[in-house]
Each structure stands twice: as structure tokens, then as C-alpha cells.
């Protein structure tokens, strides 16, 4: 049985968040990969942009950060330089600035350090799953997928547990700032530029700014140096210290990126299980845990695209990309490229090798949290598979209204227990 069939007519508007509210427009991506792999989209709400949709092209360009810079913004929307400086994190910088910041926290997110969290994650999963599963019918995104990353993020950052629901609500408002279910200030419908200097152009960014400052003040008073927030404030090898506004942007990035992406990966995995009972059987047989997390994360592709900006003119597929033009890497498309994946619309939990692009592989900005994401996905599905006998869809699924970071925001399912 098929897990999900794309709904678009092959000519979807990639600038429209509404397009993605029906799920990623994979018929459109397939057409672009085939007919126009370096595709120009004019845009009435900003400068037009180039779309790169083939797996091999995304990898090739992502490996050339000198040619395609992150330091002009990473979303489709245009920013003034002033806005860029106010809102940037190390995600929006190039070498060497990017590494100066990244190495401060690289150890905390490294594979061996993250592996030490396995039991913590397992202990978090138990109560989350038990509370959800006993309902029989429930929204799997809300009751399961949303819960684990939030709690784990609190452990990584060293924030008090009672603050977590508030933090997640604000994180949602930041990243899903184009979905009215998550924010009252829908980005493409805003009539004010009051928040344009705030992270993600969002009032939630302003609130998180204040929270981060207060949190660090409270931690300083009691000499608490746990968590990655302390690490990011230490001087780098060149002695440089992160300016305060960049620290708070980093905090917002963690709250946003650390929540949504893993959530939508977990949700997509549950969606797959609900439509294809044999996947649960494979998990229960215990033979796919090395490969299943990456396949679930490929299937989900929560980070739909990232943008770069050309630093000089170059040619590709017969097109001339001019210096200063925006170039979008559509990871969602690359992860369904028939030339890179056999039967790409099939969820194959044993897929190996699995050179998916969900973490922005092949470039300097490869996801800092990828080991944590893989571990959370594996442990959650191990614990889920232990507990249920069956899972099936129980209503209409709904996707986030966003072309940037998205996935299933509602996933009604019905389960029977072991």
C-alpha cells in the first residue's frame, strides 16, 4: 500500500505556502528534475530565485560554499543587510565565522556524546507513549511526535521542565511563521515590519530573546554551567566571543530547529507505519534499526529547502546564474530523485546506502543535531514497536502551511496494544 500520493498538478507555485499545506508538490519537483533542473521562478513578493532539484546537483553545489554563500540569508524571502545582521545565526555565516561558532558546540552534539543520551531518551519515551497509546485514537503528531524532541531539547539546553511547553509554542511560532495554526503573525500576510529585526521576523523571537537573557542570568547566579548554552558563550580558538544578540539568535535557532524537524520525522515515520503494516512487523523483527532512522528522515525531509546566494556568475544546465541571485536547494526533491534512490516513493526501512539530503549533507552546514535526531527516531520507534500490535489512519492528516520547514501537523491514528 502507498503511504502518501502527492496531490499537485505538476505546476505548483513553489513560492506559495498554501501549496505545501497539501504536502510537498512532488509532481512538480519530478517535472523540474526531468525538464528544467536549474529553474528560474519570478516572484512578485521579492527577487526571483533559482531552484536546484536534482540530488547530484544539490550535492555538487552544497560542496562549494565559496560560490554559494549562506551569508545573505537562508530563506526565500529577501532581507536587508541590516536585518541580516540583526537576525543571523552561525547557520547564516560562511567560513571561517561559521566554524568559529560551530566548534564550540560540536562536541556536545557529537556522535559519542549523543550516544550517551540513549537511556535518557528511552526513559522519556516510555511515559509519552503510554499516555498516548492508552487513548486508542489520538493525534500522533500532538501526542507523540511533538513531545519527545521538546523534552530532549530541555535536557540539552538545561532549561527547567515547566518551561518546555511555552518554549515549544514559541519555537513553533518562529519556524512555522507562515501557518495560522502556529502564529497570529503569519509572515506572508503581515502588515507591519515591527518585528523585522527579530529572529524569524517574529514576535515570538522577541519573547525568546527575553527568556534567553533571563535564563542565563538565573543560571549565572547559581553557577550552573550545564548545557550547550554555556558552551556557546565561551571564547573560540581565536578568542572571539559571540555578541549577545547572536547568542540569543542561537538560542532561538535551537528552540526552533531542535523541535520541528525531529517532530516531523517522527510523524512521517508513524504515517508510514499506519499505511503499511509490514513496516511495523519489520521493526518488531528487530533487523532494520541500523537503517530505519535515515529512511524515516529521508521520507520526512522536514527541511524542505535551504537557500544560498551566488558570490559570482556561473553556468549550469545552460543557465547563467548571476552574482547576488538566490539559489534554492530543494532537499525534498533531491530525496525523491529516481537517479539517487531506487523506488524513491517507497519507504524501505532497510535502504542502504541511503545518501539522503535531509541534514544538508555534503556542505559545511550539515545538521549539527543529526546524531541526536537519528537516535531519537530510533529509540522512539523501538519503544513504539514494542508496545503496539497495529496502527492505522483514523482521519484526515494535515500538513504545516510552510514551504520551508514542514510536515504533518495533524496525524490521527488508531492503535491496538500488544
Amino acid at each position: 500500500m502507498t503511504v502518501w500520493i502527492p496531490q499537485d498538478d505538476g505546476k505548483a507555485d513553489l513560492t506559495s505556502h498554501d501549496t505545501f499545506a497539501a504536502g510537498a508538490p512532488h509532481n512538480t519537483f519530478a517535472r523540474l528534475r526531468r525538464d528544467d533542473p536549474m529553474h528560474w521562478t519570478p516572484w512578485d513578493a521579492g527577487e526571483g530565485f533559482w531552484s536546484v532539484t536534482r540530488h547530484a546537483d544539490i550535492l555538487a553545489l552544497n560542496g562549494q560554499p565559496d560560490l554559494l554563500s549562506s551569508a545573505r540569508g537562508i530563506r526565500m524571502e529577501d532581507q536587508s543587510y541590516e536585518e541580516y545582521l540583526a537576525r543571523r545565526t552561525f547557520q547564516e555565516t560562511d567560513a571561517p565565522d561559521h566554524m568559529q561558532t560551530r566548534i564550540k558546540v560540536a562536541k556536545a552534539f557529537s556522535k559519542p556524546v549523543i550516544a550517551g543520551f540513549e537511556q535518557v531518551i528511552r526513559d522519556l519515551c516510555g511515559p509519552i507513549l503510554d499516555a498516548a497509546l492508552e487513548k486508542g485514537s489520538f493525534d500522533a503528531t500532538k501526542e507523540i511526535a511533538r513531545q519527545l524532541p521538546m523534552r530532549m531539547l530541555g535536557r540539552i539546553m538545561g532549561t527547567p521542565d515547566p518551561d518546555l511547553p511555552w518554549l515549544v509554542e514559541k519555537g513553533d511560532a518562529l519556524i512555522a511563521n507562515t501557518d495560522p495554526d502556529f502564529t497570529d503573525h503569519v509572515l506572508d500576510k503581515m502588515t507591519t515590519d515591527e518585528y523585522r529585526m527579530m529572529p524569524f521576523n517574529s514576535p515570538a523571537g522577541a519573547e525568546l530573546f527575553t527568556y534567553a537573557k533571563d535564563l542565563m542570568a538565573r543560571k549565572n547566579v547559581i553557577g550552573d554551567t550545564s548545557g550547550v548554552l554555556h558552551l556557546i558563550l565561551q571564547p573560540g580558538p581565536d578568542g572571539s566571543v559571540l555578541p549577545e544578540h547572536e547568542f540569543r539568535n542561537f538560542f532561538c535557532l535551537l528552540v526552533a530547529a531542535g523541535n520541528d524537524t525531529t517532530r516531523y520525522s517522527i510523524a512521517a515515520g508513524i504515517q508510514a507505519l499506519a499505511h503499511r503494516p509490514e513496516l511495523l512487523a519489520q521493526m518488531q523483527a528487530g533487523e532494520v534499526w541500523e537503517t530505519a532512522p535515515d529512511e524515516i528522515i529521508r521520507w520526512a525531509t522536514p527541511a524542505i529547502y535551504f537557500r544560498r546566494t551566488a558570490t559570482r556568475d556561473f553556468e549550469m544546465h545552460g543557465k547563467t546564474i548571476r552574482q547576488g541571485q538566490k539559489v534554492l536547494y530543494w532537499f525534498a526533491s533531491g530525496n525523491r530523485d529516481e537517479d539517487a534512490f531506487e523506488d524513491p516513493f517507497n519507504v524501505n526501512l532497510a535502504r542502504s546506502p541511503n545518501r539522503h539530503l535531509s541534514f544538508g549533507q555534503g556542505g559545511p552546514h550539515v545538521c549539527l543535531g543529526m546524531w541526536l535526531a537519528r537516535l531519537e527516531v530510533r529509540v522512539l520507534f523501538q519503544e513504539l514497536a514494542k508496545r503496539i500490535r497495529s496502527i492505522e489512519p483514523a482521519g484526515e492528516q494535515r500538513f504545516v502551511r510552510s514551504n520551508f520547514v514542514g510536515g504533518l501537523k495533524e496525524l490521527p491514528v488508531r492503535v491496538t496494544l500488544q
Binding site: 550535492l59 552544497n62 560542496g63 560554499p65 567560513a95 571561517p96 566554524m99 560551530r102 566548534i103 560540536a106 562536541k107 557529537s110 556522535k111 559519542p112 580558538p237 541534514f359 549533507q361 555534503g362 556542505g363 559545511p364 552546514h365 550539515v366 543529526m370
Partner: protein, 104 residues
């Protein structure tokens, strides 16, 4: 030009490497197990960690500042001649280099 990878089980794999190609790319191209290169050679992931055979370590260049920091992040424990193989480029000086792939 050639490089040899000694896998954790002792098996040796020798493969051709083009001059100027970095040894992470070469390993990925030849499907050397445990050398992944998730960041494409930009010092962001430490998944191409190798231990240069002591007989070759003097010729494989110096460990850079960011490489040094990232070696501390690698899955397998760092050793005296550990390198990120994306930072070693094939040249006449190191033709025949021997790299040990550490056990994670």
C-alpha cells in the same frame, strides 16, 4: 597514485586516487567502510576520521585549527596521528599512503 586503507578487521583495501583529490572523497568513491564524509569535506562532521600510518604521518601535512577541534568530536577515539581525511590531498609526496580506519 594510490592509497591503502586498513580496516578495523585488518583487511587492506588499495585504490587509485587522482592527484589533488582528497582522501575522504577517494574513500567514499571506493566504498571504504566507516569513512562517510557527511559534510562533503568542510570540517563540520568528523565522519572521515582516519589514523595515518606512522611511517607516513610526517608527509601528510599539519593538523589545522578547526581540524584539531573536530578530531576531538570524532566517534573513534583520537590517536597521535589522527586526521580528518578530507584535509589530506593526494600528491606525489604521499603516493602509496597507508591509512588506518579506526574502530568506532
Amino acid at each position: 597514485m594510490q592509497a591503502t586503507w586498513i580496516l578495523p578487521d585488518g583487511k587492506a583495501v588499495t585504490a587509485d586516487v587522482k592527484p589533488g583529490q582528497n582522501l575522504m572523497e577517494a574513500a567514499v568513491a571506493h566504498n571504504i567502510p566507516l569513512v562517510v564524509g557527511e559534510c562533503g569535506g568542510s570540517l563540520s562532521c568528523a565522519t572521515c576520521h582516519v589514523v595515518v600510518d606512522p611511517a607516513w604521518s610526517g608527509r601528510a601535512g599539519e593538523v589545522g585549527t578547526f581540524e584539531d577541534a573536530m578530531l576531538d568530536v570524532a566517534e573513534a577515539e583520537r590517536q597521535a596521528t589522527s586526521r580528518l581525511s578530507c584535509q589530506i590531498r593526494m600528491s606525489a609526496d604521499i603516493d602509496g599512503i597507508v591509512l588506518h580506519v579506526p574502530q568506532p
